[in-house]
Amino acid sequence: MSGLEATSSSLDVKAEVRRANAFLAEKPPTTGAGTSDLSIDEELNLHSIGWEPVELVSGLSVFSTPAGLWNWGQGEIVMAGEAHQRAFVSASQRLHNEAAKVGAHGVVGVHVERQVYSTHIEISLLGTAVRPVGAKPVDASGVFVSDLSARDFTLLMVAGWQPLGLASGASFVYAPRRNVGTALQQKSQNVELTNYTEAMYSARETAMERMQRDAIALKGDGVVEVKLVEGPMRFAGHAVGFAVWGTVVRLTKESHHSVAPLKVVSLNDTDVAFDTAALA
């Protein structure tokens, strides 16, 4: 195939639908149950590399943080960073255990939800456990957890890479209060608030370093699709937070295999919409 030819399915879909409809009147099979939150497109992507969904799995953790922690102090708010990290690790471990229990080789499409309150930090993970079609369970230590979608997982595997697990890092840092004189003097000036800028840089470096440490511990080459959340907390005017997480990957072949994408050009004109506002 030259790569420019259109591909089309030779399947007679109408016949398949009739066959499927008739099948429902037959006695149901006795084996083969599973649950998945993947879309049908994602499942087809998985199947194209010989993998299948096994079960919907979840992991969750909530860690306390002392309430008076957030507003007065200097440097990093160590306990908050620790609570975040421990909650992330516990939730990941529970997700990992559930996946191992159902005989999966990994978890893809993990939805990461995090809530930072003044008194506690919650991390919630939900994803679909997967394995090569019909494969036997592997040792629990070999089960990976990834927040890549099934499509991205497929692309990664085709390119010769393998997900190893989730890495995360978080840091919360006080932005020290200016003294009264400085605050009054700067009240009507255009001035950079270096206390906030420096706090953000400090939080960023610490969080990134922690995530990198996780990646190295998993013997990964790097972290892909890193998500980051940064900024002040609603309940703490003089503190900033920075959290990052992503999937640790490792090259499993000698070199990266190019997927050589086919370049396509749409011949459709851009739709010209009638703009009623232009009449005003």
Binding site: R18, P28, G34, S36, S48, M79, T119, T154, P261
Partner: protein
């Protein structure tokens, strides 16, 4: 209303000529490509009042340990040895099975009413189902509404079994058939966990450790973790119990929480999805060709 008791006006409308459909034009076209002919917009309603169950734990002055309505229960006991009206010496997580039963009854009734309308039309299935649950004026009354498009399979004999149903429509449904899966029905389950926090949970959720800031590190809040984890686990187990040997695809797990007092919560998990059955072995696909659009 009994499931086999369609209003007269509905029977008259359904028996008349023109079809109606909730499908968009592209989904409508995809249905025709699959040999599915839309025959009518079908709906089911149910307004359901959720009753109260005297669990014993309706106020803090009553220990709830004596009561249980079945399902998950976990007790927590204070280890501090303090006796005070303000000190929460007991705590409990329990599954509110009556809440789950009411929800499932509302869902199932609206679902079966929708299927009844589809059956009246001689449909083989219902596609593109949208189901909504709305809290009516009274917080304990829920309205369940289900709507979908009934379809006939062209050139197929008249149905002898209840119509199949799916949340999918259009190309996504077409891909499902191509992948060797046939929709059986939409499926849902709910779990509801009530948490009565004991002292440790109350302190930790309230930011305990203020006084001991330098000596007390972060602690995992076991009672809350257990309640939330169980809410998810029960929702998934309930769906599994309905699946038999079929599979759940395109699942969506929604989580809700309500706080009554510090540490006292209700957690709900609602799991919905498509129950599907494999009707042929999966034909391996070629690895998809990656494309980049040049604009």
């Amino acid at each position: 209303m009994a499931p086999t008791d369609l209003p007269e006006a509905a029977q008259r409308r359904l028996s008349e000529g023109a079809f109606s459909s909730a499908l968009g034009v592209s989904d409508f076209a995809a249905c025709l490509e699959m040999g599915l002919e839309p025959v009518g917009l079908v709906q089911g309603f149910c307004a359901m009042q959720q009753g109260s169950y005297m669990m014993g734990g309706l106020s803090r002055s009553l220990s709830p340990y004596g009561g249980s309505a079945g399902g998950y229960v976990q007790n927590y006991q204070c280890s501090h040895g303090m006796i005070s009206n303000e000190h929460r010496t007991w705590g409990q997580n329990y599954e509110q099975t009556w809440v789950e039963t009411a929800w499932m009854q509302g869902f199932t009734s609206s679902f079966s009413r929708m299927l009844e309308e589809a059956g009246e039309l001689g449909a083989h299935g219902v596609v593109g189902v949208v189901d909504t649950v709305t809290r009516l004026t009274d917080a304990k009354v829920l309205e369940f509404h289900m709507v979908g498009t009934a379809v006939k399979v062209l050139d197929a004999p008249a149905p002898t079994t209840p119509p199949w149903s799916t949340y999918l429509a259009g190309q996504r449904l077409s891909k499902l058939f191509e992948a060797g899966l046939v929709p059986v029905s939409i499926i849902a389950s709910i779990s509801s966990i009530r948490v009565w926090a004991y002292c440790t949970t109350e302190f930790l959720m309230g930011g305990a450790g203020t006084m001991l800031r330098n000596s007390s590190g972060p602690q995992e809040i076991d009672q809350i973790v257990s309640a939330k984890s169980q809410a998810r686990f029960i929702a998934r187990s309930n769906v599994r119990a309905q699946l038999g040997s079929d599979s759940l695809r395109g699942a969506n797990l929604e989580l809700g929480e309500w706080e009554f007092e510090r540490g006292d919560y209700e957690f709900q998990a609602v799991l919905r999805g498509n129950r599907v059955r494999r009707f042929k072995n999966f034909d391996p696909l070629p690895v998809p060709r990656a494309t980049v659009r040049l604009s």
